[in-house]
């Protein structure tokens, strides 16, 4: 019995089962999406129906802003952390990874404990600024929550990319006459571009699909995963929920495919 034949024999039926396991639920969702009262118009409604469109735009904007801010903050922090050895550095890096351990719903609570009506920020701002800052349930609160779990993901990827940078690239640029700004503009940031795209796309996809945080905070704002939940559970509009799921899935999948193309295969982190 040759090696090839051996492996093939064991695995063909298994692969068939797995494929079915992955394909069936998805096909089912796609079919359900087109089989409600509206038929295939349910898919068009994602964009044509003002309420749905507003939610889609809301979600896209929130995910984009989260991604942009995460990238900016993570790049600056990553460059600093990777270049300086100082007491407490290891602790700081370990701390950055803590938020990854909490489910979105816990992150939501943290934001409530921080910026809610009984929150720390309100308690501090009242004596200092004369008013009680409460923004947990606003777009700002949601953004803060999203940043809380996005930044660590992005920072770890970017720090790894910075570590892999050939230090002689920077030295070569300096030898050629480049000052600090020119070195960053011409050499370091371009070299980090694949890491930016990969980690940015992951942050974007994660933010698009974040349910737990939205569920605890988004009482006034609508984001896609919340809308899907409401349509399915409260409105019992299963077809519309399915159509919205397919739309969300497509956007997130495209972002992840982009990330994968730039990072070489193991990227896998939606919410």
């Amino acid at each position: 019995m040759t090696h090839k034949f051996f492996t093939r024999l064991c695995l063909v039926p298994l692969i068939a089962v797995i494929a079915a396991f992955f394909v069936l639920p998805m096909l089912r969702v796609i079919v359900v999406g087109g089989s409600g009262d509206m038929g295939l118009h349910a898919y068009a409604a994602i964009i044509l129906e003002p309420r749905f469109r507003a939610t889609l735009i809301n979600t896209l904007v929130l995910a984009s802003v989260t991604t942009a801010l995460s990238l900016a903050i993570a790049t600056i922090a990553g460059l600093f952390l990777q270049r300086h050895r100082f007491p407490g550095r290891a602790l700081l890096v370990a701390m950055l990874t803590f938020p990854l351990a909490f489910p979105g719903v816990v992150v939501g609570f943290m934001i409530i404990l921080l910026a809610g009506r009984q929150g720390l920020i309100g308690a501090l701002s009242l004596p200092l600024a004369g008013e009680k800052w409460v923004f947990a349930y606003s777009m700002q609160g949601l953004l803060l929550g999203y940043l809380y779990f996005s930044i660590p993901r992005v920072i770890l990827t970017i720090m790894a990319a910075i570590e892999k940078l050939d230090p002689s690239l920077e030295e070569a640029a300096r030898a050629l006459g480049a000052g600090p700004w020119a070195v960053h503009r011409d050499v370091i940031l371009p070299a980090l571009m694949p890491a930016f795209i990969a980690s940015g796309a992951i942050a974007f996809a994660t933010a698009m699909g974040a349910f737990g945080t939205a569920f605890t905070l988004a009482t006034n704002i609508n984001v896609l995963p919340m809308l899907i939940y409401t349509e399915f559970t409260l409105s019992a509009n299963i077809a519309m929920a399915a159509a919205l799921s397919v739309g969300l899935g497509l956007v997130a999948w495209a972002a992840l495919a982009l990330a994968r193309a730039f990072s070489g295969g193991t990227v896998a982190a939606a919410g």
Binding site: S168, A172, L176, G179
Partner: protein
């Protein structure tokens, strides 16, 4: 394009101790003449790269050390204003720029216009023999082409000093040998003062006007390739540069007394000596005609010569490089002859 803008370089009392207390370099003072090619040669960890980085401005010498270009103290001038051309072992080409942009980067930083940049790039690709590759991306280049782009980029802004850190080490043996010749011609054409770091003694021999052999953060010997090869200052230099037989024996009024006979030497007096003989300086003759005989322990044919190991002649087996046409086999008794001038006495360890 004989750019004779080379400067003299003086390294004065430069030592280097790293933050963790490691001493990378003992105090070194050294002068490099205008247009000279000086090679730092030594095993890894000998301090040669630290030396180069101090001259480049990438490391600061310990206090008391100074680096002078044309007698001007540049110790506190950062690398980006020292006007040094640098070639790295990894080449460090910018992957986000094409070949022409890499070469012209230093000119762009200095605000040169497009016409000036284009003409200088054209000049340099011709000089380094990479015509037609101007618009290629870096990842489309072979190792040898990358090496040439790195060199063209380093000399684009007509640097005062050209610094090369193992620039051929990343290439395979055949290509390395070919590029060594090309590099030699190019350095002579440019006439820039050049400091070259390598662990490869053939590279050092071919390229260096002078060679600085380093060991454990200190200079073991400075001299021309011939000095270093024929008159090594120590056992370390003798063994690091090429193959060497080092014979510990008694020298008695012009004669070295050995287990297999004796050798005439240029040395009077009586005493224990360490004598170095290069393998190619030993001639094989008929044992009847010889004052020194031994038995062939192994013969290894390498094409251009045969390397023999001869037992019984000296205190340890002698390595002999013989002509590839010599008929000799394991077990033969052979006579050995060495010109007295080819025997060098070593001091110290």
């Amino acid at each position: 394009m004989n750019t004779t803008q080379g400067v003299t370089v003086r390294v004065e009392n430069c030592a280097k101790t790293f933050a963790d207390g490691t001493r990378a370099l003992d105090p070194v003072t050294l002068d490099v003449a205008r247009g000279e090619t000086l090679v730092f040669l030594g095993p890894s960890g000998c301090g040669k790269t630290t030396m180069l980085r101090i001259i480049a401005g990438l490391e600061k010498p310990d206090s008391g050390g100074r680096v002078l270009f044309n007698a001007q103290d540049v110790t506190r001038i950062p690398i980006e204003r020292r006007n040094v051309g640098m070639v790295f072992q990894s080449y460090a080409l910018f992957p986000n720029m094409n070949v022409a942009q890499n070469i012209a980067y230093s000119l762009a930083l200095r605000g040169a216009g497009k016409a000036e940049r284009d003409s200088r790039v054209a000049e340099l690709v011709a000089l380094t023999g990479i015509e037609g590759l101007e618009n290629r991306n870096i990842d489309q280049l072979s190792g040898g082409q990358r090496q040439r782009v790195a060199l063209a980029r380093a000399v684009a802004m007509r640097p005062s000093v050209l610094l090369l850190d193992e620039p051929l080490t990343a290439l395979d043996a055949a290509l390395r040998e070919r590029l060594r010749g090309e590099l030699d011609r190019l350095l002579r054409t440019l006439g820039i003062t050049t400091i070259y770091v390598t662990h490869d003694q053939s590279e050092a021999m071919t390229l260096g006007d002078r060679i600085v052999v380093m060991r454990k953060g200190a200079i073991a010997q400075v001299g021309s390739p011939r000095d270093i090869y024929f008159k090594p200052a120590s056992r370390f230099v003798a063994e690091f540069i090429g193959a060497a037989n080092i014979i510990d024996a008694v020298s008695d009024n012009g004669v070295l007394v050995l287990p297999g006979g004796r050798l005439a030497v240029d040395k009077t007096g009586h005493g224990q000596v360490a004598a170095m003989i290069r393998p190619e300086s030993i001639g094989i003759i008929s044992p009847e005609a010889a004052f020194l005989v031994g038995r062939v322990a192994s013969v290894s044919f390498t094409g251009d010569r045969q390397r023999l190991v001869v037992d019984g002649a000296s205190d340890k087996p002698l390595i002999v490089d013989a002509s590839n046409t010599l008929a000799v086999k394991i077990g033969d008794t052979v006579g050995l002859t060495v010109a007295p001038s080819a025997i060098q006495f070593l001091q110290g360890a």
